[in-house]
């Protein structure tokens, strides 16, 4: 049985009207300019340029070892760039030690101080700022309410559950009111259910505070749910930046298409491209593939067609001949409750995934293994990838 990740789109987070990056006159809060960081022979961050705007919820997404955490640590000041520069609110951060930077970080391990109580942990940064005692107490109470830990002020970290510790770490990082909050895999240690809940809490919190959040995660779902924009990283470089929907629907490479969500990739030669429609020849469909694509693609080159499983229709009776039509038999399927994913083996031997919403509880004609099926998809469901 195979399963597939179910991308959830546009749940609450995306404020379509919020797009400061589209305003060329606006000064970004943080600017990475050609930043490179090497560890020995390894280049962890390779010539990265990136702008993050005030009040933005920005996600750095990529597999482990892609350099996303290093990029965040460069901003926090725990690492020093080998080349390039980082500015925060127009100020060059070069040479500024971590304790002077107006950003706070929530660590993946939480890094709570075990000898201090919850309230002392939260007050830690405030004390460093030299805030008067009375104000500290008020701020701590405010923070405890914010993260709903009111009754646990005097507990020590080892007396808390994982979720409670996570919220203490969050409160501790927010308390000093930083210009920017850095979250390093903030939900990785939580179980699935709690993780999903917390994602929405993070969004609510960010919107309420209006604070700029930078989150580092390897979980594409987490990034898509929470972030205004996602930067997908690979081997020290950013391969695509965009809103979650943009990155999902119009990935700029096979890597991004494959990393975010599930995708079926078909290789083929471009036979026609007029700036609107691209046609490709393929052994799997005599009529070839057709896709809407306004980017320039040169005829005769090799390209890949990317089609998400949920955008493929599954037929038990042969549809009429035409482009984007595939024939095969069911090799495997996975019932997920809301969706069923089918793995269809084409005559050529390659497999294609198709997802079908279980719209009705009773299916008139259940699909079983080895059933002959046909797959079709619309030209606007496919994306042409040249790299």
């Amino acid at each position: 049985m195979t399963t597939t990740r179910r991308p959830r789109l546009n749940i609450g987070a995306v404020r379509s009207s919020f797009a400061p990056w589209t305003d060329p006159a606006l000064e970004p809060l943080v600017r990475f300019e050609g930043v490179t960081k090497r560890f020995g022979a390894e280049t962890a961050v390779n010539d990265v340029s990136l702008s993050i705007y005030e009040s933005e919820f920005f996600a750095l997404l990529g597999p482990s070892g892609c350099g996303k955490t290093t990029l965040m640590r460069l901003l926090a000041g725990f690492e020093t760039p080998d080349a390039g520069r980082i500015t925060l609110a127009g100020q060059d951060l070069a040479g500024m030690p971590p304790h002077q930077r107006p950003v706070n970080m929530m660590f993946q391990s939480y890094a709570l101080f075990p000898h201090l109580s919850v309230e002392q942990n939260i007050a830690f940064g405030l004390k460093q700022q030299g805030m008067p005692k009375g104000q500290i107490a008020d701020r701590v109470v405010e923070m405890l309410e914010l993260v709903r830990l009111g009754g646990l002020a005097r507990r020590k970290p080892h007396q808390l559950s994982g979720g409670q510790r996570q919220r203490v770490a969050l409160a501790r990082a927010i308390a000093p009111n930083p210009k920017m909050l850095l979250l390093d895999e903030p939900l990785a240690a939580l179980d699935k259910k709690l993780r999903e809940e917390t994602q929405f809490e993070l969004i609510a919190l960010q919107q309420r505070l209006g604070m700029t959040f930078l989150i580092v995660t390897h979980d594409q779902e987490e990034a898509m749910v929470t972030a205004d924009r996602i930067a997908v990283m690979r081997e020290g470089q950013i391969v695509q930046i965009g809103r979650p929907a943009e990155v999902y629907e119009t990935p700029n490479s096979r890597y991004v298409a494959d990393f975010i969500g599930d995708v079926n990739l078909f290789e083929g030669a471009v036979t026609a491209a007029d700036g609107k429609v691209v046609k490709m020849a393929t052994a799997d469909c005599p009529a070839g593939f057709e896709a809407l694509e306004d980017d320039a693609v040169s005829v005769g080159s090799t390209a890949w067609l990317g089609v998400r499983p949920e955008k493929i229709q599954l037929h038990l009776d042969p549809p009429k001949e035409g482009p984007n039509r595939l024939a095969g038999k069911v090799a495997d399927y996975g019932y997920l409750g809301d969706w069923t994913t089918y793995v269809v083996e084409l005559e050529s031997g390659r497999t294609v995934r198709a997802a079908r919403a279980n719209a009705s509880r009773l299916v008139a004609r259940p699909i079983a293994c080895d059933d002959a099926v046909w797959l079709t998809f619309a030209p606007d469901a496919a994306v042409v990838l040249t790299r």
Binding site: P97, H99, V103, F124, R172
Partner: protein, 298 residues
């Protein structure tokens, strides 16, 4: 994890150990301290006359008394020796902390591979006889010794250190340093580096991070190291005897004098019992500290 009920030998072994190696000798010494000296083999009385049966045992207990303890309190020399021993142990413990902490801290900041080598270096002196190492200090500190030869090279000295309290402190610090460094290293090495980063992130300079995070977190190690050194140092004999001067007054020496010079086994035993009683508090503290560390590690 809850404790499993233990049975059989496993349940009895600790008590057996305690009984054979602590309680039994303790009662022997306690009994001795209630006896009187005598010209006999061995040189104390009373001894149980088993042939007289119950009457013999009764006579034995009737002859025990606290006279020796009364003498301890009436002679200021003993009190002076106690206070002096406590002072030596306390000052040496402070010096050990001041010297041992930076060493343990430095070690814990090396990459793990090199830490092993450094740890080895700390333990290495144990491979040589303790006595030989203390004798080596005599060779260094004596008037015509290595230290004064070196000082003479740069036109200084000579210093008369051997047979002074200074020499005792040098010896104590040298001999007990590993016992201070190892527990400190154990706690410092375990420290999560991200806690230091968190402290820096929240506005601490490196030294503020040390005092607000590293140091408080290392307190169990400080307590363990301090007690581990303090307790045996109070009763230390060899170092004050070899490196100290005649004026170096310590309990270990007092016990030796009572036992050997005065052939007064009861007095030696009484001093030892009082020494143990004085040390019970720090020993219990140490036990509690160990317990806490074990719990914290779980």
């Amino acid at each position: 994890m809850s404790a499993r009920p233990r049975s059989g030998l496993a349940a009895v072994a600790p008590f057996l150990w305690l009984g054979v190696f602590f309680l039994f000798p303790f009662f022997l010494v306690a009994k001795l301290s209630l006896s009187d000296t005598a010209l006999a083999m061995p040189p104390y009385a009373p001894r149980v006359d088993w042939s007289a049966g119950f009457e013999g045992v009764r006579a034995f207990f009737a002859a025990l008394d606290f006279e020796t303890y009364a003498r301890l309190t009436s002679d200021s020399l003993y009190i002076a020796a106690y206070l002096s021993s406590l002072k030596f142990a306390a000052v040496a413990t402070s010096l050990l902390l001041i010297i041992g902490y930076p060493i343990a801290y430095g070690m814990s900041r090396f990459p793990p591979a090199q830490r092993q080598a450094l740890l080895m270096a700390v333990i290495l002196p144990f491979w040589t006889s303790f006595l030989i190492r203390v004798y080596a200090w005599i060779a260094v500190l004596k008037p015509q010794g290595l230290l004064n030869a070196a000082l003479a090279q740069v036109g200084l000295g000579p210093l008369n250190i051997l047979n002074t309290d200074t020499a005792v402190y040098i010896g104590l610090v040298y001999a007990y340093l590993p016992f201070m460094v190892l527990p400190l290293y154990a706690v410092l090495e375990k420290q999560d580096q991200s806690q230091l980063e968190a402290a820096a992130d929240l506005g601490c300079t490196p030294s503020q991070a040390f005092w607000r995070v590293t140091f408080p977190l290392s307190l169990p190690g400080v307590a363990a190291g301090a007690l581990l050194c303090f307790i045996p140092m109070v009763g230390e004999f060899v170092i004050p005897d070899l490196l100290g001067g005649s004026g170096t007054l310590m309990l270990g020496k007092t016990i030796w004098t009572e036992f050997f010079s005065n052939r007064d086994w009861p007095a030696a035993s009484a001093v030892a019992i009082v020494l143990l009683a004085t040390l019970v508090i720090p020993i219990l503290l140490y036990q509690r500290q160990q317990q806490k560390m074990i719990e914290a590690a779980q």
